[in-house]
């Protein structure tokens, strides 16, 4: 019976709660000596290149354990293969939660895979922390208070382009080419965030393409015809390469912003022609493992030392390894902040209480910040320009 007295008792208990040290039964997955953390990742199948992230996560927690664990508890990190198949993600996540009894799920990978367990995690009130996907929806704290992303979302990235344009080129005539799906549309929303009231004036044309279109040639011609001097392209690698090549053929040279999904040298710039891509701009938040400017950087040296000791033989040019290092360090900080109270509620509360956390593999000036109304831990990027040979950072770090 829910009467006034039980309500009062409950209220009193809530007030008193912080003073009481949480008991073991309130802390699933946690013992006096161990914290059990679950993860799903494509260790097999077509997306298995991402398996490198979970391997780096596991290596990071081995290092934490070698250094004495967190507040005296060692981390037991369990990563299961879901092959990037949502039904298997459901199965493995339930196995982790219900059979292995993990405290929470950390850094599960893939937008469709994590979507499949989004409702499950939230209805069972289990933290789904720092998911490895760029969709914006992982920051929806009002509807999914047990889920949080990590990297800048597509929307954040586009907002940063908008903010840069407002400052550096306020008279710009902007054209947008976007893939007609949630990924592409996140960029339109982000640009609106960044440009604010100037959106209607500055953006003179939005053109979409379908992934079934064989080429984007007609879209490129249309956009050139508008007389725009800025182009924002939200395209996946194949169409990104076509866009770069086509506008060079048309002898159109707008200030070209490219989604950081499609800036791989091998997959986009080489097929497009590295010279054609000269001047291309994108946003970055991590230090690139192959960039010589970080050769003497203390943060990257720390990462390299970690790689040599805990992942010997692994590819040190693979940015998935810097990503795994960075996201795991964020996780370790959350657990440190939890102190003795490793209840799920407190883990979530501490995840939403990160203040100016510095991560050695992030670009200087980019810090991790969260709050009860900010579930997007990284909201800043620095722009970089393709020189024809490599990416060169320029300007200041911009926050969305």
């Amino acid at each position: 019976m829910l009467n006034r007295r039980t309500l009062l008792t409950a209220a009193a208990a809530t007030v008193a709660a912080p003073a009481i040290i949480a008991r073991a039964e309130d802390m699933p997955g946690v013992t006096a000596t161990e914290i059990k953390i679950g993860n799903t990742n494509p260790h097999s199948g077509p997306a298995s290149a991402y398996g490198a992230i979970a391997n780096a996560d596991a290596a990071y927690f081995r290092m934490v354990n070698d250094q004495g664990g967190i507040n005296g508890r060692r981390i037991n990190f369990i990563s299961y293969d879901d092959g990037y198949s949502p039904p298997r993600t459901v199965q493995q996540t339930r196995r982790l939660v219900e059979q292995d009894g993990v405290a929470f799920i950390f850094n599960g990978l893939g937008t469709p895979c994590q979507t499949a367990v989004h409702a499950y995690m939230n209805s069972h009130k289990i933290p789904q922390l720092f998911v490895a996907t760029g969709a914006d929806k992982w920051g929806d704290y009002a509807h999914f208070p047990w889920t949080m992303g990590w990297q800048p979302s597509y929307r954040t990235e586009a907002a940063i382009y908008g903010k840069y344009l407002l400052k550096a080129k306020p008279d710009a005539k902007v054209a947008v080419l976007y893939q007609n799906d949630d990924f592409g549309k996140d960029y339109l929303i982000g640009l609106k965030d960044g440009l604010g009231e100037h959106y209607g004036k500055m953006v003179i044309k939005e053109v979409s393409y379908e992934t079934t279109d064989p080429t984007i040639d007609s879209q490129a011609v249309t956009l050139q015809g508008t007389g725009a001097d800025v182009l924002v392209t939200a395209a996946t690698p194949k169409w990104a390469a076509q866009t770069i090549r086509k506008i060079a053929e048309l002898n159109w040279h707008p200030l070209h912003f490219m989604t950081n999904v499609s800036v791989s040298v091998g997959a986009v710039l080489k097929p497009a022609g590295e010279a054609n891509a000269t001047g291309l701009i994108t946003g970055a938040y991590q230090k690139d493992a192959t960039d010589p400017q970080w050769a003497n950087d203390a943060g990257m040296k720390e990462w390299l030392a970690f790689m040599r000791k805990y992942m010997p033989g692994a590819d040190i040019t693979d940015n998935n390894h810097t990503y795994g290092f960075g996201v795991s360090m964020t996780m370790a900080q959350v657990l440190k902040q939890c102190g003795p109270d490793l209840s799920r509620a407190n883990i979530m509360k501490q995840a939403a209480s990160l203040k100016d956390l510095e991560i050695p593999v992030l670009l200087p000036g980019i810090r991790v910040n969260t709050s009860s109304t900010n579930f997007h831990p990284i909201r800043a990027m620095q722009l970089q320009r393709w020189s024809g040979k490599g990416w060169v950072l320029f300007g200041e770090v911009i926050s969305a």
């Binding site: 260790h43 097999s44 949502p86 039904p87 469709p112 499949a116 949630d182």
Partner: protein, 333 residues
Amino acid sequence: MAARTAAVVLGVLVLVAPAFLLSGYNLFQLTMVAAYAVAILGLAIVTGYTGQVSLGHGAFYAIGAYVTAILMTDFALPYWATLPIAGVICAGVGFAIGFPALRLTGPYLALVTFALAVAVPQMLRAKALEAWTGGVQGIVVTAPDAPAGLRLSQDQFLYLFTLAVALLLFGLARNMLRGRMWRAMVAIRDQPLAAEAAGIDVARVKTRAFAVSALFTGVAGSLGALAVQFVAPDSFSAELSIALFVGLVVGGAGSLPGAVIGAAFVQFVPNIAQQVDKSAPGVVYGMLLVAALYFMPAGVAGALRNGLRGPAPRRSAATKSTTKPQGGTIHVE
């Protein structure tokens, strides 16, 4: 007669018992086994009994799953009402595809159906269908709770519901496979020329078998969608079709219990493989598969019937017909 009734009652009790003995995650796994068993049963009708190799049944599973997801979210239909609709739609698609495709035999049919398995996930992403399918984002399905009055958890209810549908479909298949249809199908598999000479309309029987097969697998897809509570193109890659085929062959291509055993293989062996060797689960899975086929050439069901008899016997001349895909490995009751 009384002994038989007792056996049936005992069998049902054994199947129902897990709902009250196991926890959520294990029940979920058994629910998936039941769904896969129905899918493999569908495949067995066309491949095991009629001898037409299909590597595309994942496509029907996907269509069934999407029909349920779309009907529940966009048309607010109750979950149970979506099952027959999914079955009928899949039967229609199966019939339409079977009509031209089944004029092909052996490897040609296998390739055409495999093309279907590859094409469907991409079609689900297509812009034209996005308003319904949700594109790459997929659809979140709200799984049914147990009807009021039944004191069952959602997992218990889903298991029992899936089990009931599976038992119904296995019963239907068993009846169907005792009649004329079955004799015609087996005749086509073993001796297509003789079957035709005996007056069997080969194309018609094959097309019907394909439609019924698609119906079963489509309903299985619906059950799977309810259990997983989410559908997306990535859920139904071409690998699913291969997995169903593997389940069929490992279980025993021409037997009803084989479908259940095959489903258990599909559900549990990848996890076992991962526990044996985390870095190369595919290798372990492959080795287990080869071992299973080497020692149990007629599938697990065949081995249980005949006892382990070692490596596959040499095929006799009589079984070497062109339409028979797996030579000596397909076993007839």
